[in-house]
Assembly symmetry: C2
Homo-oligomer: 207 residues x 2
DNA sequence: CTATGTGAATTTATTCACAGCA
DNA sequence: TGCTGTGAATAAATTCACATAG
C-alpha cells in the first residue's frame, strides 16, 4: 500500500489506542488482537485495522499486534517519541485539574511552564513548577516550548492566544468557551465543555 | 425540502451557534447573516446555511437570520427549551471547574445534584447544592434527573456509570480517561483531555 | 484455522454553484 | 442587489468482504 496522508479521524483515535496499549503492556500483555483492542476502546475491529493500515503493517496474521512495537510506532507517528514540553495558562480549578492529570506524562507530555494573572498565585509552586506572571509568556520562545493549554476565562482567551503565538507557540489546546483567531500555521484544538453537555439532551428520549 | 435526520456533525455545531446567537442578542443585535455568524464561530457560511437547512427555513433572503427566532429553534431542536437538570459525580478540581461554568445555565442546563465519595466533602455546599454521598446516586431516579457528568478518577468511572444507568440516567458526559460500557440506549459523550492534547504535536511542524 | 490488511462499496459530511426570494 | 436555501458534486470516513499470511 502507498502511504498517503493519515485521516484526521484516525489521528484523533491514535492516542486512545496508545493509552490502551500502554495499559495492556503494563498488565504484562505482549500482544493484542484488533478485536480485543476494539472491545477495550469501544470501536470496531475493522476500524482499528484500517487505521493502522494507513501507516504500515504491524500485525502478525493469526496472532495480532505486538504491543510494544505498535505503541512505539504510534508514538512516532504522533511525535510523542521525544518528550514535549507544554505551557499552561490559567491556574483556576480547570488548570489545576489538568496539572494533576497523570496521563500526560505517559504520552510524553510535560507541563513545564505555568502562568496566571493573579498576583497572589504568582510565585506559588504547583508540583515542581512555579507559577509565573502572564507577562512572562514571551519567554516561551527561548525556552523552546511550542505547545500550550489555555484555561483562562473567555474574555482573556484571545489575548492570551495572541501572546502565545507571538512567543512561537504552534499548537494550542483551548478550553475557553470561544473561538480564537490565530494564524493558519497554528493548530488549535478546542474543548468546549458546555457545548458538549448541551448536545446530550438531543440524544436522550423525552418521556 | 423534506426534513430527515439531522447529521451528528450538525448537532455538534448547533450549541456553538446557539451560544454565538445568545451573545449577539445580548449585544443588542437582532439579526445576523450566515457570513457574520460564520466569522464568529470559525466555520464557513455555506456550512451554516446547510446546517440550518436540515430543520427549516429561518432566514430572510437579502437580510439574514432573526437572532431570537433562530435561537429559539435551535433550543427546541436540542431540547434545551425546557431547563434540564443534571447531576455531577466527583467534586475534585475538574468537578469544581464544571460547577463554576457560567455557560451551562445559558444552555438551560442546571446541575442540581452533586456527589462525591469523600466523607469530608459530603454535606458541604457548592453554590446552593449540597454534596451528597455517591451511595445516594439511586435517588436520581425519583428526582427525575437523567443527565449526568462523570468527573471521577478512571478506576471509579465504570462503577459510577453503572450506578447512574441503574438510576435511570440516559445521557452521560464522561471526563474519565477510559471507555465506559453502558446499554445502547444510553448516550455517552467522552471528553478526554489527555488524548486531545496528545494529538497536538502531530500537527505541529518539527523544527 | 485465525486474525491481519486492503481494495471496493457504502455511508456520511463538506463544498460548490446557482436558483429564488426579499 | 444581497443573502438564503438546496440540489448536485466532491471529499472524507466507515463498513464490508475476502484474499492473504502465519
Amino acid at each position: 500500500m502507498r502511504y498517503h496522508r493519515i485521516p484526521d479521524e484516525t489521528v484523533r483515535r491514535l492516542p486512545i489506542y496508545l493509552r490502551a496499549l500502554l495499559f495492556a503492556a503494563d498488565q504484562g500483555q505482549e500482544s493484542i488482537s484488533s478485536r480485543d483492542l476494539a472491545d477495550f476502546v469501544g470501536v470496531n475491529p475493522w476500524q482499528i485495522r484500517k487505521d493502522f493500515s494507513y501507516f504500515g503493517e504491524f500485525g502478525t496474521r493469526g496472532v495480532g499486534y505486538d504491543i510494544y512495537e505498535l505503541a512505539q510506532q504510534i508514538k512516532k507517528i504522533l511525535k510523542l517519541d521525544v518528550t514535549k514540553q507544554a505551557a499552561l495558562v490559567g491556574v483556576g480549578n480547570l488548570g489545576s485539574a489538568i496539572l494533576a492529570y497523570p496521563d500526560l506524562r505517559m504520552f510524553g507530555l510535560d507541563i513545564t511552564a505555568v502562568f496566571d494573572v493573579n498576583p497572589r498565585k504568582i510565585g506559588r509552586k504547583v508540583g515542581d513548577v512555579e507559577i509565573e506572571s502572564v507577562s512572562r509568556l514571551r519567554t516561551l520562545e527561548r525556552r523552546k516550548i511550542n505547545l500550550a493549554i489555555i484555561a483562562v476565562p473567555r474574555n482573556a482567551a484571545q489575548k492570551v492566544a495572541e501572546a502565545l503565538v507571538r512567543a512561537g507557540v504552534m499548537g494550542i489546546l483551548n478550553f475557553s468557551a470561544c473561538y480564537i483567531t490565530v494564524p493558519r500555521r497554528v493548530k488549535v484544538i478546542t474543548i468546549d465543555i458546555a457545548t458538549d453537555l448541551a448536545r446530550l439532551p438531543y440524544y436522550v428520549p423525552t418521556r
